[in-house]
């Protein structure tokens, strides 16, 4: 296959100390309009899987433990 995986710094940070995804919480994943967050099955924590962010903040505002922080994407900063 002629494909490459280009890495990129994503705008959404999840504090793994605070994230309770391993207890079944999926709030941030559920509310993201662009469906770019996911739960890492190894760590049991939420993370940004796709760098396609509208920095709209439902993930951050609706997180029950305040684990999510959204930065302005680098290209706009």
């Amino acid at each position: 296959m002629t494909m490459a995986a280009t890495i990129t710094q994503v705008p959404v940070k999840v504090d793994s100390e605070k994230c309770i995804a391993e207890k079944g919480c999926t709030v941030c994943v559920d509310v993201c309009p662009l469906d770019v967050l996911a739960i890492d099955h190894v760590t049991g924590k939420a993370f940004m899987k796709f760098d396609e962010c509208w920095y709209c903040l439902p993930c951050e505002k609706d997180c029950p433990t305040g684990a999510v922080h959204v930065d302005i994407p680098f290209l706009l900063r």
Partner: protein, 574 residues
């Protein structure tokens, strides 16, 4: 791909603003009606008002404005190209909707007497009602969906409509963006409420999802309406908005204007005397940007501390709450300096301009059983409240249509063709990625379609777009999420071609910057005082035709007609 077959009376596509209202009103009309609301995101936080809204931009409230005044204002702001009956249907129902939203728990600003605190932003009348606590809008709507027992399916991307022997709606197709399950939903009627086509141009930051509109709103509805045979109106009347440079929030006339903020040039001087978003306002903005007086700024630094704090609360907690964070990074402070502004990428959005799926005052498209509401439908300058009012109109009328019609058989050939179209990117292992094709398409939109519009550039743009379309037929998706981006890219390419064809058709200039044609710089009322309609012809190609302006029900005086042409501050060269 697993196939899931469903059957409803009415399917509402899009759970943002107009969609939930349509579904609720259809159920209120007939609680037994089987109504499904489908969203490609989650209705709790989907659409343009994902994080709420900071105000009503077009409230027609007795004592402040009349429906006739509003129809007149929008007719003039839109250079006469309006179906006044459709604008009137909004205006006449505007206040009832405000009262209903108020009853549902939406908080509007009121004065000490309990009256709505309406502000003047438009050129002529007063229609702006702030919502300092407008962040709970989606929660209010969700409660109503629960109350009326509307069924909701999230994360399903609708891609095509099914039609019967007489061209009528028979179903809706799409896929789940997490499982790639293929959905075939049989129904009597459908309402498209998919919002703007806001992912057509590329923001100047180069970040694909840094669009003014919620990037989920990429023109899926426009594309599926076109392919089902519906006409689209005045697509050459683009949406272009004045925004904070690099940040996709409005600057913003509606919020800061009533507090004394304004758009200024580099010298801190006003150059337009009305910040209400119109094509002519954007033209003046563009001219100032390009002139030696540019760039353009949002000026608040002359205001009192308590005024600026109030503005910050509204702007940084509603609609686009990451704005404060953006300013903090840049070291911007409204108190100390003016904030640099720029113009947005292009899009289709009737909320702010007037292009979209053609509908009449009943919310009907040209396809039987197909309705459309909100930013994707053609009623001009409709904003959030217009989406609610037309959501209601569509919901009520679609319920009546369902009562009078039966379910029809589905055409297997159409279902198979769409199944194969959706599945194809998942089966490939070689080819361009959706990201690459989308980026290229939108870069070409900026290169060739962004006004000023030049005929030769548009012709080249169309040729390049054909090449991209050919490349898009080989896109690869390695998972259902990428498949969603791939199918969205097809919609974006369709919309870009529609924008180009509609713009080439109207050989005049109108709506200020929205349709500024360099080769036809003058307005030509003799030949172009009409709507333009884009539709799929018998050969399956995009075709254009003129549609006469419906007789005015609110007469406009000759002298008033030019009010929006005189926005530039007197004393400066236009």
């Amino acid at each position: 791909m697993k196939r899931i077959d469903l059957e409803y009376d009415l399917v509402v596509i899009g759970g943002g603003t107009g969609g939930p209202m349509a579904a609720v009103k259809a159920k209120e009309q007939n609680p037994k009606l089987r109504v499904l609301l489908v969203d490609k995101a989650n209705v709790k936080r989907s659409g343009a008002i994902s994080m709420g809204m900071d105000g009503l931009n077009n409230a027609v409230i007795p004592g402040h404005a009349t429906a006739e005044q509003y129809v007149k204002e929008i007719t003039i702001a839109n250079d006469g190209i309006v179906d006044q009956e459709a604008v009137m249907a909004y205006a006449a129902n505007s206040f009832d909707m405000i009262q209903e939203l108020d009853k549902w728990g939406v908080k509007f600003e009121k004065d000490e007497t309990g009256d709505y605190a309406v502000r003047k932003v438009h050129h002529l009348g007063s229609y702006v009602l702030p919502m300092p606590e407008g962040h709970n809008m989606k929660r209010v709507l969700y409660r109503q969906l629960k109350r009326t027992r509307v069924e909701v399916t999230n994360r399903v991307v609708c891609t095509r409509l099914l039609t019967g022997a007489n061209g009528e709606i028979t179903g809706v197709m799409g896929f789940d963006c997490r499982t790639a399950d293929f959905y075939v939903i049989r129904c009597k009627a459908a309402i498209i409420a998919t919002g703007a086509a806001g992912r057509m141009g590329l923001p100047s930051s180069g970040y694909l999802m840094g669009t003014y509109e919620n990037p989920t709103n990429c023109g899926d509805g426009h594309a599926m309406a076109y392919h089902a045979g519906a006409a689209l109106a005045n697509l050459e009347c683009y949406q272009i908005n004045p925004l904070i440079k690099d940040y996709n929030g409005p600057a913003c006339a509606y919020v800061t204007g009533p507090f004394g903020g304004y758009t200024a040039n580099a010298a801190g001087e006003r150059f337009i005397d009305c910040d209400y978003w119109s094509g002519q306002m954007m033209m003046e903005f563009y001219r100032e940007l390009q002139s030696g007086n540019g760039p353009v700024f949002l000026k608040l630094d002359h205001l009192a501390e308590e005024t600026i704090s109030e503005i910050e609360v509204i702007l940084h907690t509603n609609e686009r709450p990451s704005r404060g964070r953006f300013h903090e990074n840049r070291g911007n402070d409204y108190r100390k300096e003016m904030i640099e502004m720029h113009i947005s990428e292009i899009g289709f959005c009737s909320g702010h301009s007037s292009s979209g799926i053609w509908i009449n005052a009943q919310g009907e498209t040209t396809v039987p059983g197909l309705y459309s509401a909100g930013d994707c439908a053609s009623v001009p300058h409709n904003y959030m409240l217009g989406a609610f009012v037309y959501g209601k109109i569509c919901g009520v009328n679609a319920a009546a249509y369902c009562a009078a019609n039966t379910l029809n058989e589905l055409d297997d050939a159409q279902v198979q063709a769409e199944h194969d179209r959706i599945e194809a990117p998942l089966l490939r292992t070689e080819g361009p990625t959706p990201f690459q094709v989308e980026y290229k398409t939108r870069r070409l939109v900026n290169d060739y379609l962004q006004p000023p519009k030049v005929t030769r550039k548009y012709q080249i743009g169309l040729r390049r777009m054909d090449e991209v379309r050919a490349d898009a037929a080989h896109m690869v998706a390695t998972n259902p999420h990428e498949l969603m981006r791939a199918m969205e890219t097809h919609s974006i390419i369709d919309c870009a071609e529609m924008a180009a064809r509609a713009s080439l058709f109207r050989t005049e200039s109108r709506w200020g910057l929205y349709h500024y044609s360099v080769d036809h710089p003058e307005r030509d009322d003799a030949n172009w005082f009409c709507h333009s309609l884009l539709y799929k012809n018998a050969q399956g190609h995009m075709a254009m035709k003129k549609k006469e302006i419906e007789p005015y029900i609110v007469p406009i005086d000759e002298k008033e007609m030019d009010a929006y042409q005189r926005l530039r501050v007197v004393g400066e060269a236009a």
